[in-house]
Subunit: 144 residues, 2 copies
């Protein structure tokens, strides 16, 4: 039977966990910046930490390039980002954080860190290492 099948429940525990965490993140984030999504907040943080192209960001956080293109477009529309064309390579976009983006970021960073802490409360670093190892095994198995 399906519903009590351990293989079934693993994947739905994964889905459940990630959905619960995303919901927590959204709730906390919208208390400080109402018009930003969880993904957009993360992208903002990544661009702030390193100069990255859209493609590089997409690869980092496992997003499709098409999705990344639309996420960036919305962030520009909402005035969190600016886009310029790279002078050395006309295909590449340089992403810059606006004033509004910077101010949002200042408020977001502590919230994001707190969310992770909240979600991982009670898990030791060995447990987390283990969790990551098992998840990576599932990823590798799935890529064959």
């Amino acid at each position: 039977m399906n519903l009590n099948n351990p293989s079934f429940t693993i994947f739905y525990s994964i889905e459940e966990a990630i959905k619960a965490y995303r919901k927590l993140s959204l709730r906390k984030i919208e208390t400080v910046i109402p018009d930003i999504t969880v993904d957009q907040a993360l992208v903002l943080q990544l661009i702030n930490e390193e100069k990255l192209t859209q493609t590089e960001i997409a690869d980092l956080i496992f997003k499709d390039y098409a999705s990344m293109s639309r996420i960036i477009a919305l962030m520009i529309k909402k005035d969190f980002l600016l886009k310029e064309t790279d002078k050395n390579d006309g295909r590449v976009s340089i992403l810059k954080i606006t004033k509004k983006g910077e101010s949002a970021l200042k408020q977001l960073v502590p919230i994001i860190n707190q969310n992770r802490k909240t979600a991982l409360e009670g898990l030791t670093s060995e447990e987390l290492e283990n969790l990551k190892k098992m998840l990576n095994k599932i990823t590798q198995n799935s890529k064959k």
Copy 2:
């Protein structure tokens, strides 16, 4: 720093694993039934195993009721399901699997089981128990 932060990597290992698994599932499923999605295949399987309302299915697999409504509508459009109104409660829909749905199901069940086996290869049942426990902890932490 963010990218090497263990808290960061945990959540992205989770996303990576679930995305890799979904991609594997889709690839295998589309070899037998090209016009069905991973979610739709799962819904078909659940309806086959138990008589469930849309709301119950949604709760089981952590879907929003709105999403479930649309998934069901598409499955009806593609002739995998039929919907009738419950005679005892005019709000409730009774979902029935069509001939096409039944025939699809026969081909899908072994594929779905094989996908899970593939993805979990090399993980012992103790490890899986542990994995589930940690994921459930993250879920509970996130729900506060």
